[in-house]
């Protein structure tokens, strides 16, 4: 399968034509029993403990190393697919559009991390999976392929956090995660993925979800690290009355590129999807958002919403926003909204006119821009750390600029 090209709609505006596959070496079997020292997951700015988790699992370079059960129903299991002696989940069953990166993950992933929440089991404590990128001892620029497969059974409920973390800056690296989420009838899954990789890493992630009748899937992806951060989320409301909710946030600085693609697919009647994606770009960074609402024939009385807002904080930064609709049914409701622009002048004036200095006013507005999304996150307890981290990035980016545009022309 050839590498994708910028000419394809789903890669439009991306820097994928500059991608050089030959420079990367997939990590091999020798990584399987890599010892993990305690405390290594502390490289993450979200400490798993902070989330009061029920289960914490740690992978290193994709290999599942450790599963700590704090408090969880016995039937909820996290294990490596390598340890399953029969009928491993059908990998790729939810992938509707396989590309070269998914193929690479298929070929090189070191056994999927499998989470099973059986029918009727309800677990409220988050399950946290920390994927560590461990550069030491690797030859060349490593390519790492984490894989995660999640099955939430009929009437079951669970909450999952995936943290993608570089323990130290691995230099040039490629990280290609694939995560598959299946939510059974009347099941309920909340999912948060936070990407905090190193500054010379290409991160090309694929998230696929499918939801059966009256089930609910809520996701949030947060992209802060990497030099090229791509996160594609394809979510299908498969059964009648299924509900999906997608949230996505990114913050760019230096020369980062954040690239968020979403597909909200409605395959059954009375399904709903609600997407909110917000990002800010500072310095020479840029972002791409493209989203597709696809309503299949027969998905009557479905309701889809798609909203993308971008703040462009510097003259050298740039954001593209491309909403798309593909509707094969008449009796549906769809709405989309998008915006790209600098900090709103009227908002600045309003806040400054209350006695708030310009740099503080801008900080309030940019943090508020993200709080508006954070307040609608599927997992509030994970948001304290996300908010703190975004706050630090915002403060640094705003401070690095020359003085904000003057606000008095007398």
């Amino acid at each position: 399968m050839p590498l994708p090209s910028e000419k394809e709609e789903i890669w439009r505006y991306s820097p994928i034509d500059a991608f050089d596959l030959d420079r990367y070496v997939p990590v091999g079997e020798e990584q399987r029993d890599r010892p993990i020292q305690s405390g290594r997951s502390s490289a993450s700015w979200i400490a798993p403990e902070e989330l009061a988790p029920g289960i914490v699992a740690v992978t290193a370079n994709g290999w599942l190393q450790r599963v700590d059960r704090v408090e969880a129903p016995g039937s909820v299991v996290v294990r490596s697919a390598l340890d399953l002696d029969a009928s491993p989940p059908a990998f790729g069953a939810v992938l509707s559009d396989v590309d070269a990166f998914v193929c690479m993950n298929d070929a090189f992933h070191p056994g999927s991390v499998v989470l099973e929440v059986p029918a009727g089991v309800q677990m409220d404590a988050p399950i946290v999976v920390v994927h560590l990128v461990e550069p030491e001892g690797l030859d060349g620029a490593p390519a790492i392929f984490p894989r995660m497969t999640v099955e939430v059974g009929e009437g079951a409920r669970a909450r999952l956090v995936e943290l993608l973390v570089a323990r130290s800056d691995p230099g040039v690296a490629l990280v290609v995660p694939v995560t598959e989420l299946r939510v059974g009838e009347k099941g309920d899954l909340s999912y948060v993925a936070v990407q905090q990789l190193g500054t010379r890493t290409w991160h090309i992630a694929r998230l696929c979800g499918e939801v059966e009748r009256e089930g609910r899937l809520r996701t949030l992806t947060v992209g802060l690290g990497a030099t090229y951060d791509r996160s594609r989320s394809d979510v299908t409301a498969k059964g009648e009355g299924a509900a999906t909710e997608l949230r996505s946030a990114y913050f760019g600085s230096d020369t980062q590129v954040h690239d968020v693609r979403t597909i909200q697919e409605h395959a059954a009647p009375r399904t709903t999807s609600d997407l909110l994606c917000k990002g800010a770009v500072a310095q020479e960074s840029r972002s791409i958002y493209s989203g597709l609402i696809r309503i299949r024939h027969g998905a009557t009385k479905s309701n889809a919403m798609q909203t993308n807002h971008n703040l462009v904080l510097d003259q050298r930064s740039h954001a593209d926003s491309v909403p798309n609709l593909d509707i094969e049914e008449n009796d549906v409701r769809c709405s989309h909204a998008s915006s790209v622009g600098p900090i709103d002048e009227d908002q600045r004036y309003y806040i400054e006119s209350r006695g708030v200095p310009p740099e503080r006013a801008e900080r309030l507005i940019v943090l508020g821009f993200f709080d508006d999304l954070i307040d609608r996150s599927p997992m509030p307890e994970a948001m304290t750390a996300v908010r703190r981290q975004i706050g630090e990035r915002v403060v640094r980016a705003l401070a690095s600029r020359s003085a904000p545009p003057g606000d008095v022309c007398d």
């Binding site: 004036y349 806040i351 708030v356 821009f369 022309c409």
Partner: protein, 257 residues
Amino acid sequence: MTALETPERSLHDDGASLSVRGLRAEVRGKVVVQGVDLEVRRGEVQVLMGPNGSGKSTFAHALMGRPGTRVTAGSITIGGHELVGLPSWERARAGLFLALQDPIEVPGVRLGPMLEEALGEPVEARLRAEAAAIGFDVRMLERSLNVDLSGGEKKRNEMVQLGVLRPPFCVLDEIDSGLDVDALGAVAARLERATTEWGLGVVAVTHFTRLLSVLHPDVVHVMIGGRIVATGGPELADQLEATGYGTFSDGVPGSEQ
């Protein structure tokens, strides 16, 4: 202006006044305010009336230093301290507050944190007290600034901010637009109380006499064509009510713009 001599009002009369002299201001190259003089003392209520397009709102924003509103001549002082040339946040800190006709929505920003940035100290208790005083649902304090608020709630929100910040002077731009009778009464009562509580000096900008049924001004000005063409007591508003602005615009240069 007998009200000024009541003991409560004089308590706060520190001699500082809001003083506007020969103010000219333009927006996008068009001169809108054509030489305005105004003097407001602490505890005093003045109303600036005028038809649409008379320059009242531009005048209000020129006082606050809105970007795009350019002062080309004149001065604005509080207690002798010049505001022209200062950014709006410094004008606010010098003692001026502008209540907007249509307060801006700021998603994700709550009132408390914004006022704490303005004052540099916790405001939670005062915020709750002020919300109660104006009949602003305290649950709204947890919402984003002005987002999904009705017109009346937005104006009450402005009054909550006024009460927490307690500036010496407040300019209200069309505070009565979009308000029902109850909300207008609540806003006016709050302003009247503020004139004695901390000696707030008020300039209320409006084109309706409706405001004057609930807010009792010491001084009424009529602005037409960017100039103040008449100044008097409350009886001036009665005259306006009876005859409209037409009688005032006769012979006023620039009033037909």
